[in-house]
């Protein structure tokens, strides 16, 4: 890996205002190697941040550096070693993916034969096979996203910015794309900054998550911290809501605080007398057995990235 333990991106007080619109306000974050998710609703400032880091937009205030290059003076150096997959369509329809990726690799400074070799390699990795020789105008959204990703990787960057790579994909293609993003970060050894407005997606693939809201930094921490066990338990039994409620009522009588959540019963952290390792689990098993219910699932509840918005949004307000 090129980057070692040094931060890949650092920003300090980064601010961007378009007239009265505040796209980014006083953003100070650090991004390391691996996959970093950049989460926020549409208009939260994700794309603006990427464009500033690429040197395409000038910030109103603050500083940032990418791979050790200052964005103010080192824009060209940054763009030499960084890949960018934009959110919107950006492929000419009358060119084949193969030709286009070769051309884009050359535009990043690779020689003719190196560009050809890299393009073939990268197109294979993103999963464009025979269709790479067809004009891109006839591609499905999934194939277009792959071609866009291929051009971002063509010159073997040390860092890639992926702006909403799962946009417009069906669930299967979305899973494929996310797996690919994860592999870029782990197997390929390329640092990834990936944006999405869908929190659940980034939970699966990123090592670190930065949450933006209205141009403000809401939170930046390792994905694990977001998904800490909350101490609650989730129980599901075979049957319908009737069975679920029977179990819930029986457990409540034994001193557990229960509430329905979808087809499951969510049990708040057990009281001290049941907090001993496994005691609550045993109790739930016994109650289910007494009621003759088939226990389907018994698992610790974890936090979700969504909760960040609820918690921290409330604190800020």
């Amino acid at each position: 890996m090129h980057t070692g333990g040094l931060p890949v991106i650092t920003t300090a007080g980064l601010t961007k205002h378009y007239g009265t619109v505040h796209a980014l306000t006083d953003l100070t974050v650090e991004v390391g190697a691996g996959v970093t998710g950049l989460v926020g609703a549409n208009g939260a400032g994700k794309s603006t941040l990427i464009k500033i880091l690429l040197g395409l937009l000038e910030p109103t205030g603050g500083h940032a550096s990418v791979l050790g290059h200052d964005i103010e003076h080192g824009g060209q150096e940054i763009r030499r070693v960084v890949g960018y997959m934009p959110e919107h369509d950006c492929l000419p329809p009358d060119v084949s993916a193969s030709d286009f990726v070769v051309h884009m690799a050359r535009m990043s400074g690779l020689g003719s034969s190196a560009a050809r070799e890299r393009a073939a390699d990268v197109l294979r990795h993103v999963g464009l096979d025979e269709e790479r020789y067809r004009p891109m105008g006839g591609y499905s959204t999934g194939m277009k996203q792959r071609a866009k990703l291929a051009q971002a990787l063509a010159h073997d960057p040390q860092l890639v910015f992926l702006d909403e790579p799962t946009n417009g994909l069906d669930p299967a293609a979305r899973t494929d794309m996310l797996r690919l993003v994860q592999r870029i970060g782990s197997d390929f050894g390329i640092a990834v900054l990936v944006t999405s407005h869908l929190l659940g997606e980034l939970e699966q693939v990123s090592d670190h998550v930065i949450v933006l809201d209205g141009g403000h930094l809401l939170r930046s921490s390792a994905t694990g911290d977001f998904l800490q066990r909350t101490g609650s338990l989730l129980v599901e039994v075979i049957g319908t809501e009737t069975e679920r409620d029977r179990l819930g009522e029986a457990l409540a009588q034994r001193g557990l605080t229960c509430r329905p959540r979808g087809p499951m019963v969510s049990i708040d952290p057990p009281p001290p007398e049941l907090a001993l390792e496994g005691a609550a689990h045993d109790l739930i098993r016994d109650v289910a057995a007494e009621l003759g219910l088939g226990l389907m699932r018994l698992q610790p509840d974890r936090g979700h990235l969504e909760d960040v918005f609820l918690e921290e949004g409330a604190t800020r307000a």
Binding site: Q76, G83, C90, P92, D94, S108, L110, D187
Partner: protein
């Protein structure tokens, strides 16, 4: 997607190398700009693009070479002391074809990247918006220059084969080539600017045709009327309004084989040069501003 092993095998049996890093040389901006220039030049003639896109440029080129071929044929077969048409005037006579070539091919270089937004991918690479705009303009200029150069060189070779005076021919040809380069730069700037603003190919072509062919027609008509009304300076002044009348005016002043209705001389010569330079510079600035603006969106 095929399963790819996460570790590259080191046993010597290659099934799949996994992801390979690239640690070979990376060219500087000058080489990247040269690659972009060559690609642009090829694309202007439809080379490296679909077969269909080669039809228009090569058809126009064939049409502009055809009269020169006939002239050369006649010249070689019948005794003559001079070319029936001067090198610079040949370009002037075939101006409709040159204008059509510029109008039809400028959108290829200046509209496509903006319309399909692939400009974003270019600007996320080492070359900036300014360099990109300038290189595109240079591709178009050289494409246009080559378009006028081919019949000029054909005439020149014919003239030498027919045994015409070499030094006269060399002078006339070189003057024409210099004027053509200036003309190409101007026309590339004008059509490029129009194409980068009106992203629909149809609008861009119509806009360029208006600016080059219709405007030049109007200018020529007004010049002729002014000349017949003995308003000589008006006739010369109107010639400042179109790249083609600037070309023929300067060719007239330089004695390059074109005679305008009213000779361009005296203080008009530096004015013509200045207007041509300002027009070219204005178009370039406009192009750069346009690409910078699009790039920051």
């Amino acid at each position: 997607m095929p399963e790819i092993p996460t570790e590259s095998p080191r046993t010597g049996v290659i099934h799949d190398l996994g992801y390979r890093r690239y640690d070979g040389p990376r060219e500087g901006s000058a080489t990247i700009a040269r690659t972009l220039f060559t690609t642009g030049l090829r694309h202007a003639y439809g080379l490296g693009r679909s077969g269909k896109s080669k039809v228009m440029p090569f058809l126009l080129l064939a049409m502009s070479v055809l009269p020169a071929t006939i002239v050369v044929g006649v010249l070689v077969l019948t005794p003559a002391t001079s070319l029936p048409v001067s090198y610079a005037d040949y370009t002037n006579q075939t101006q409709l074809l040159v204008s059509l070539f510029a109008a039809s091919q400028a959108p290829v270089l200046f509209s496509r990247d903006l319309r399909h937004r692939s400009i974003v991918l270019y600007l996320a690479r080492p070359l900036g918006a300014t360099a990109f705009a300038l290189v595109r303009w240079l591709s178009m200029t050289v494409a246009l220059w080559a378009f006028t150069l081919v019949p000029t060189l054909l005439l020149f070779v014919g003239a030498l084969l027919a045994g015409l005076d070499t030094s006269d021919q060399v002078t006339g040809m070189l003057k024409a080539v210099v004027l053509q380069a200036g003309l190409a730069a101007l026309v590339a700037g004008i059509t490029g600017l129009i194409s980068s603003v009106s992203l629909r190919r149809g609008f861009a072509v119509v806009g360029s045709v208006m600016a080059l062919i219709v405007l030049t027609g109007v200018v020529t008509a007004v010049q002729a009327i002014s000349a017949s009304e003995d308003a000589d300076s008006a006739s010369v002044a109107v010639g400042l309004a179109s790249p083609w009348s600037l070309y023929s005016g300067l060719a007239d002043a330089w004695d390059a084989g074109i005679t305008t209705q009213v000779p361009v001389d005296g203080a008009w010569v530096p004015v013509y040069v200045l207007v041509a330079l300002l027009l070219g510079a204005g178009c370039l600035l406009g192009l750069v501003a346009r690409f910078q603006k699009v790039g920051s969106r």
